[in-house]
């Protein structure tokens, strides 16, 4: 359970900056993993009437990127830039860009934004230049952070992968 202060911050951040920022804020504040933070944020937003639709379905998917660390990408990864201090440029790093938990429809939408198909594994190694960035932004609730990260990592030569999580 989140503290009252954190709950207020979640609703405010969601209204101002979108879902991803709210989730990141909870992760920083609690040390929670992505799945936990995502679930906690959704619960708060649901209660606050911001996310009226509860997760549906059993499909959980993820967008991952792999590529070389460098000055242009260090602020786009999963953790604060300072945690990458001492890691040489060019080191291969992996980052999670977006997750969908237990929602068939949203999983399908994420795949479609990326030019992939949830259950066609031939499409999961993505061609990031085929992604529909406007649709991606809409899927993230108008959140520009996701699209900014995606385009900058793409420009830095990262490889992108769509993944269906194990049942």
């Amino acid at each position: 359970m989140l503290s009252p202060e954190l709950r207020d911050a979640v609703v405010r951040l969601f209204d101002e900056k979108g879902l991803l920022e709210a989730v990141l804020h909870v992760r920083r504040g609690t040390g929670a993993g992505l799945a936990e933070a995502d679930a906690a944020v959704r619960a708060v937003l649901h209660e606050a009437g911001r996310l009226p639709v509860s997760p549906r379905g059993e499909t959980s998917v993820e967008l991952l990127a792999v590529g070389p660390l460098g000055p242009s990408v260090v602020e786009l990864l999963d953790y604060d830039a300072e945690r990458y201090t001492g890691v040489p440029d060019g080191t291969k790093v992996i980052t999670r860009l977006f997750d969908v938990y237990g929602n068939d429809e949203e999983s399908r939408e994420l795949a479609a934004c990326l030019g992939a198909d949830v259950w066609d594994f031939n499409t999961h190694a993505l061609d990031p230049w085929r992604a529909d960035l406007d649709a991606l932004s809409r899927l993230a609730g108008g959140d520009d952070v996701l699209v900014r990260r995606f385009s900058k990592l793409r420009a830095a030569g990262f490889r992108f992968f769509f993944r269906v999580l194990p049942p």
């Binding site: 890691v87 291969k92 594994f121």
Partner: protein, 132 residues
């Protein structure tokens, strides 16, 4: 809520890997040889101690990002077997919540290490992913 961790592998599909992937074989009826997939190899969802143990098994430092894309030949297979020993139950025993493992339970515990070896030999690249 401490750290959790997962080891992921990314590499080319081939039919021989069907028993070791994240989804049942029937999901891969149309997957072509060479299609690049992400596979979950090991998971330590339950906290920092197990996550640190898993990191040690594969020769990485949990929070040293330069060690996370790791060379699978450096992993300690014996330590990985110990890490999973007694950890899984066969389907029947999982349902019955049985205390005492049978042979099938033991095979279930060996499965993750076999998956790792098969993916390694198929040329997959490996990543330790901390979460926390």
């Amino acid at each position: 809520m401490g750290m959790s961790a997962e080891v992921l592998a990314i590499g080319p599909f081939h039919r021989g890997l069907l028993p070791f992937l994240d989804q049942p074989p029937e999901r891969h009826a149309t997957t072509r040889e060479g299609a690049v997939l992400v596979v979950s190899v090991f998971r330590a969802p339950e906290g920092s101690t197990r996550s640190r143990e898993l990191a040690a098994c594969v020769g990485v430092e949990p929070w040293d990002f330069k060690s996370h894309a790791f060379d699978p030949r450096r992993a300690d297979l014996g330590a990985l077997r110990d890490f999973h020993a007694g950890y899984f139950r066969c389907e029947e025993h999982a349902k019955a919540r049985a205390e005492h493992p049978c042979d099938a339970c033991e095979r279930a515990c060996e499965a993750p290490v076999e998956r790792f070896v098969r993916l390694r030999d198929a040329g997959f690249e490996f990543f330790f992913c901390p979460n926390g």
